[in-house]
């Protein structure tokens, strides 16, 4: 490069700073197949392959387990059971001791891992697992939330949030009703399944390449299983082929199996789950039963409400406590309740242990209140949008959540007005009502639903992040932080922040794999907090180095710090300009440290779980969507005709990335609420364990007319990184509008005066049942 011409060009901005619409940093690699995922890492010589042996009963005592045929199978090198664990037989993310690496006396779900085969090939390992002879003594299994409630079987104690006196408020309200709503779980189906490659190091240490959202936790769990200190284990992750929460805790088991075998055999071991095993043996979104009782006035304003959440947690606690809590935190969505109680029970069942999934309980909580909104609207004969509007958070005193936090940044009323107009909701509502009168079998429905989603981990101590930045003597920058990349664009956003800080072009910033040896003690990349926290930490690290460069320059050039400014790819020092790389070189010669760590902890937040009060969230992310559907009342099938979205990403760090999150989140939520059905048989076996039976949205399922917009001129009121807002999870809940639109289409049959009994997902079967049930109720009423 010709430095002189670069200097004479004097660019006024850098390439790739914040708020720019930029392609994903790995775009070219994705398009050419050059991006490396765990399974693509060239295998070191002698690599072996692991496959888990799974339980064939939902609940049983193990009377005998005979693995001799497994050991004798071709290609088998080692068979691991609990007896081989030098440390602790547990991979629970919260140290609960209820997530054994290998089950021993008893199995608690169909698909629980009993042993693992290590063989010369993946195929040989898988085949050998089938040769185990296991004698089970079957025990009665609890499969559903109702089973668990009946037998009082819980993984964790119940939790209650309360404000005011809901019982009396409901009793004295002009109108009251009760209802029940059920919603299903969801399989992550990250396109890249769980994968770990463990490479033995000296001293019995191990390096694990793992597809995980939480390298630190994998590190801790592997160390725990090996009975070694954390510093014996290094975990690295360049990228995941999708995570969605399914790699927040669910990677530990496979990493631990690979690491245990690698250390034992002193050979590299890969554990990449077969898709069937992955779907059977890893946790999913929690399904819920929600019971409610509500009292309201003539206009549908809620005066008192009580929710009873029952979450199917599966056999162990995993993250169910925090997930069920987040469902409670979102039982209000964007609405004010004068008096409220939310009770949450965490049901223990003999099914796979449910886990994080984009939204982390929030979507479940929101679905409950959105059902209530429609229920009130039907009973009152009002447009559901009017009921939603009248209940929105407003000025004090109507701005306090059920957990006693004041909503200070509410923009929903304006946001809803904007999308109500841009989507022509009122006109279309009329047209649809008219259309439905003229069509006997096809019915249309429309719904506008808002989203208010709390940002921060509700477990306060998790809200911290670290970063590591090096500047090399040629001016190029190495960036590392605790966040992980799963396609959400975190890495490029944080790189933009660092480029902006140094005022250097983005291509000067090298994005590097997340590694527990570089940035330790990190939190999961979860709760949508990735760019908020890691962006701040990386900025802090860059600022330290900038500060040192400034001090050095001031001294060397005999100017004051105020006379120094970082301009695009150069630094103005007094009345001269020096290329960034030259100043860096000079600083190195002047013995200035060009490496720094950065740290961030989210301010203002606190929460007291005992009293269920505090400020668990730094801020809220908002959005709203209008969905229009058409259903066929003879088949129960639906088509999504049009979707309008207006979403709040604050002052977006990268609008291209954020729009991708919004549309992807909506479609994933739509899959959850309309087509994806997890079906367990009476033996507790998941029968929908492949995409042939578990229906994930495809290209032809996206709405034909899809209009998406980010809310403009809307910086975050809190001091987040460049005033942006978290965007990973909130858009998923925009899909509630599609579900409510289906309910609206069904309700048209009863002239919008009866709420259909429609549980989620709204599969054609459920829609048909809801129609039949509604018609039966109408006949009974006549």
């Amino acid at each position: 490069m010709n430095l002189h011409s670069a200097a004479t060009a004097e660019p006024t901005t850098i390439r790739g700073g914040v708020h720019n619409t930029l392609a994903h940093d790995s775009a070219a690699k994705h398009a050419t197949g050059a991006a490396i995922y765990v399974d693509d890492i060239p295998e070191p010589a002698g690599t072996l392959h692991a496959a888990p042996g799974l339980s064939a009963r939902a609940r049983a005592r193990i009377k005998n387990i005979d693995l001799s045929n497994v050991r004798a199978a071709p290609g088998v090198v080692l068979v691991l059971t609990a007896a081989d664990i030098p440390g602790t037989n547990d991979v629970s993310p919260i140290g609960a001791g209820d997530d054994p690496l290998f089950a021993t006396e008893e199995v608690e779900f169909h698909g629980q891992v009993l042993f693992a085969v290590i063989a010369e090939s993946h195929e040989a390992a898988r085949r050998a697992t089938r040769l185990a002879k296991i004698e089970y003594e079957e025990l009665p299994a609890l499969l559903t939330v109702d089973d668990a409630l009946r037998t009082q079987s819980f993984v964790l104690p119940e939790h209650v949030m309360k404000r005011g006196d809901p019982v009396s408020a409901i009793t004295h309200a002009p109108h009251r009703m009760k209802g029940q709503f059920r919603l299903g779980g969801q399989e992550h189906f990250y396109l890249e399944g769980q994968a770990s490659l463990a490479v033995p190091m000296e001293d019995g240490d191990v390096l694990v390449h793992c597809s995980t959202q939480h390298p630190s936790e994998v590190q801790h769990n592997v160390a725990h299983v090996l009975g070694r200190p954390n510093n014996a284990v290094t975990v690295e992750c360049r990228r995941m082929g999708g995570g969605f929460g399914g790699k927040e805790t669910q990677g530990s088991q496979w990493a631990a199996i690979a690491a245990l075998a690698a250390v034992k055999l002193k050979r590299p071991v890969k554990c990449r789950l077969d898709r069937d095993d992955d779907m059977i043996a890893t946790g999913k979104r929690h399904d819920f039963r929600i019971d409610y009782e509500v009292g309201y006035d003539d206009q549908g304003r809620i005066l008192g409400i009580s929710f009873d959440h029952a979450a199917r947690c599966g056999y162990s606690a995993d993250l169910s406590g925090a997930i069920a809590d987040r469902a409670m935190f979102h039982a209000d969505n964007g609405y004010f309740f004068e008096a409220v109680q939310i009770r949450s029970r965490r049901c223990k069942t003999n099914t796979v242990s449910n886990t994080a999934f984009r939204g982390f309980g929030g979507p479940q909580g929101m679905l409950g209140i959105e059902e209530v909104m429609d229920a009130i609207a039907r009973e009152r004969g009002l447009d559901p949008l009017d009921v939603r509007r009248i209940n929105l958070y407003g000025d004090a005193p109507r701005n306090v959540t059920p957990y006693h936090m004041q909503v200070e940044d509410n923009i929903l009323p304006e946001l809803i007005t904007q999308i109500e107009e841009s989507s022509a909701y009122r006109r279309r509502r009329q047209e649809i009502t008219q259309w439905n009168r003229q069509n006997a079998y096809l019915k249309k429905g429309i719904a506008l639903t808002p989203v208010k989603f709390g940002i921060s981990f509700t477990t306060t101590h998790l809200n911290q992040a670290g970063a590591l930045v090096h500047v090399y003597t040629d001016g190029s920058v190495h960036l590392n932080h605790g966040g992980t990349e799963m396609g959400q664009g975190l890495f490029i956003k944080v790189a933009q922040v660092v480029a902006e800080e140094f005022q250097i072009d983005l291509d000067q910033v090298k994005i590097t794999p997340t590694n527990t040896g570089k940035v330790p003690n990190t939190s999961a990349t979860a709760a949508s907090s990735g760019s908020d926290m890691n962006g701040m930490a990386a900025q802090a690290a860059a600022r330290k180095i900038k500060q040192r460069l400034t001090e050095f320059a001031a001294e060397k050039y005999k100017v004051t710090a105020e006379d120094i400014a970082f301009l695009p790819n150069r630094v103005r020092i007094g009345n001269q300009e020096v290329p960034f790389r030259d100043l860096v070189k000079q600083a190195y010669m002047g013995r200035v440290s060009l490496s720094a760590t950065g740290y961030y902890r989210t301010p203002k937040i606190h929460y007291d779980r005992e009293t269920a009060s505090g400020r668990p969230f730094l801020y809220f992310a908002y959005g709203a969507a209008v969905s229009e559907v058409m259903i066929d009342t003879l088949t129960g099938e639906h088509t999504l005709l049009r979707v309008d979205i207006l979403h709040d990403a604050g002052k977006s760090l990268n609008p291209a990335i954020d729009l991708g999150q919004v549309e992807g989140g909506f479609i994933q939520g739509m899959g959850w609420l309309t087509s994806e059905e997890l079906w367990f048989d009476e033996q507790g076996r998941l029968r929908t364990h492949a995409p042939s039976t578990y229906k994930i949205p495809t290209c032809s399922d996206r709405p034909a007319d899809f209009r998406m917009q980010l809310l403009e001129n809307n910086p975050n009121r809190e001091e987040t990184i460049h005033r942006s807002k978290a965007v990973g999870e909130p858009p998923l809940m925009l899909a509630i509008s599609a579900f409510r639109a289906i309910s609206d289409a069904i309700a048209s049959i009863a002239n919008y005066r009866i709420l259909p009994r429609l549980d989620a997902p709204a599969t054609p079967e459920r829609v048909l049942f809801a129609i039949e049930e509604l018609q039966a109720r109408m006949e009974a009423a006549e």
Partner: protein, 217 residues
């Protein structure tokens, strides 16, 4: 070892096989070939081969195969049951082609065989001998110039995690070059065998639409 009867439906074979200690590709393929999962445009050659082949016992003979991939011939000694996907990834280190499900249900492993898209996880390597295989690595020109579809995917952010992308692009190239991109509806229909869990679908369709214009001109 007891094998479940072949009439068993695909969806239950996984769970049943688990208990009986049997796993083989055959049951799966029998079911898949008759189910509606495969896009119609996909050849079924590999499927039929697999059906006749996979009933072999664990010790199977190996054969020498000449594999023509991205214009180069590779001579390999492989277990007769090796799929094209495994041959590419494990023997030729062409890891651009991804294994999403290994069961013919996600499209991540799509490659071209004589210019037609096929699912490499359902195709036995023995069945493609002498035919031209093109993978994502072979799409760009020798000088590194990207195929217009690759460029369009980059320009339209047609991915998030990228894991489905090589398969999407191989299907998209076939869609565009086979003149199957007449309308958005036709594109969506053609592409519906390629799952994208990140749901980058709107941008995938936009990329294909743009690439179509590019390829035409």
């Amino acid at each position: 070892m007891k094998r479940p009867p072949t009439s068993q439906p695909t969806t239950s074979s996984g769970a049943t096989a688990r208990e009986d200690g049997v796993f083989n590709r055959r049951h799966f393929l029998v079911g898949t070939a008759t189910s509606a999962v495969l896009p119609l445009s996909f050849g079924t050659t590999g499927v039929r081969e697999a059906v006749t082949d996979a009933a072999l016992p664990t010790q199977v003979p190996s054969s020498s195969v000449a594999l023509l991939v991205n214009g180069r011939t590779h001579r390999l000694i492989l277990d007769n049951r090796t799929t094209l996907l495994d041959a590419l990834r494990e023997h030729l280190a062409l890891t651009g082609t991804k294994k999403g499900c290994d069961h013919g249900q996600c499209g991540a492993c799509t490659v071209h065989l004589d210019g037609e898209p096929i699912l490499s996880c359902l195709t036995l390597v023995a069945s493609v001998e002498g035919r031209a295989v093109t993978t994502i690595e072979g799409l760009a020109q020798a000088d590194g110039a990207l195929h217009p579809v690759q460029q369009a995917f980059i320009d339209h952010d047609a991915f998030q995690c990228g894991y489905c992308t090589p398969g999407q692009i191989m299907s998209a190239v076939a869609c565009v070059e086979g003149d199957r991109a007449g309308s958005d509806a036709e594109i969506r229909e053609y592409m519906s065998g390629n799952l994208c869990r990140c749901a980058a679908y709107p941008n995938i369709v936009a990329a294909i639409r743009a690439a179509k214009t590019e390829v035409r001109s």
